[in-house]
Symmetry: C2
Subunit: 242 residues, 2 copies
Amino acid sequence: MAFKVYVDRMSQPSRAVIIFCKVNGIDFEEVRVDIMKNQQYSPEYKAINPMNQVPAIADGRFKLFESHAILIYISCAFPGVASHWYPGDLSKRAKIHSVLDWHHSNLRRGSAGLIFNTLLSPMRGIPLNPQAAKESEQILIKSLSKLETFWLKDSRFLVGCSQPSIADLSLVCELMQLELLSEEDRNRILSPYKKVVQWMEDTKSATAPHFEEVHRILFKAKKGIRERMATQSGKTELKAKM
Amino acid sequence: MAFKVYVDRMSQPSRAVIIFCKVNGIDFEEVRVDIMKNQQYSPEYKAINPMNQVPAIADGRFKLFESHAILIYISCAFPGVASHWYPGDLSKRAKIHSVLDWHHSNLRRGSAGLIFNTLLSPMRGIPLNPQAAKESEQILIKSLSKLETFWLKDSRFLVGCSQPSIADLSLVCELMQLELLSEEDRNRILSPYKKVVQWMEDTKSATAPHFEEVHRILFKAKKGIRERMATQSGKTELKAKM
């Protein structure tokens, strides 16, 4: 049985897993689970991941979900993965676990919460929530500050590494979701953090050309969302004049 | 240098780390960081954990925070730890990572959010937030349902294990925080989940007598909180009658 990767490229942890497989030359079948069509709730997918989320993998009969757990599994199960992605050294590995755990309640919560409450919630039938967006932005800003002053303090990559680990890929894919914001908002949020901006560029370079290729859908979606927002804003202005 | 564990026993991940060390006969020094006195913000502690949270460890010069990362580190660094806590087998280990990752945005978010917004926020100078408490309770109920129907589906312990892993200890310590609620609320939330209730008992038994001993502070705090609430409620009634 082939190694199957169940993903929607619009999901940031899905992109991290696809890029990781491509960078490491892993032979896999990409199975699209279209979250805009609610395919994550289908009975077929429920048998893969009962939490109805992407990504998930099936390696023969072995099934797994949660992107960090998947990245660790692939690092250990496929002999071709270079050791810098998930080092065998106990202390280095512990630091990578630490930043991945921190990611959940900090960077992910801030970034994903901001995007959802500013842009995506109407697509799920939920009204935009400016208060929740504001709280998420505060968590995001605090997380960016910790990245700048602590996690990237001594090195190009996270936790003192000179080469990227699975944590760099996971966290940078998270921040790429900010591409969906307006240029003005994205710059206002990101540009004060010079090390973070450089680290994102370094991680992109280290995973080229796959990083750009896998993110193409995001840039396309950005264009669509911004055009839709411009049309809506035009309609509102027209209404106000009438 | 001794192996130091920086904790406040009122914090559920702190208790998981202390119990784990005690159960596995690890020689450690417990350093109390009193979060009610804001000691997590002291310059001394900032040098241990710049995120100002407990628990953290210092093993000689090596420092680490985030409780899941700590439990994994201890499992690997101390040869006396029985293998069922963090099995070497790739698939079993991957499943443990998966449930630990799931914990962050589900069980922890629901349980900790409910307790904070129902009881603890005034102690941090933040008003109680019934709407946030309600949302947290919904996340908690959904998480309990996933524990009952998926994570504990096939076995006494999580992810198909016949003996406890670090994930059982971490998640059961999280749920113990519900002791701070009234008996009525706690029963209403927990009692529909028979497997979850039995699994909590099994995890307590597997880690006796340390589990009870380390949780003693929680039962004491519960008594204090409920007495304070009864006094406040009496005062409110008296005021209403005047």
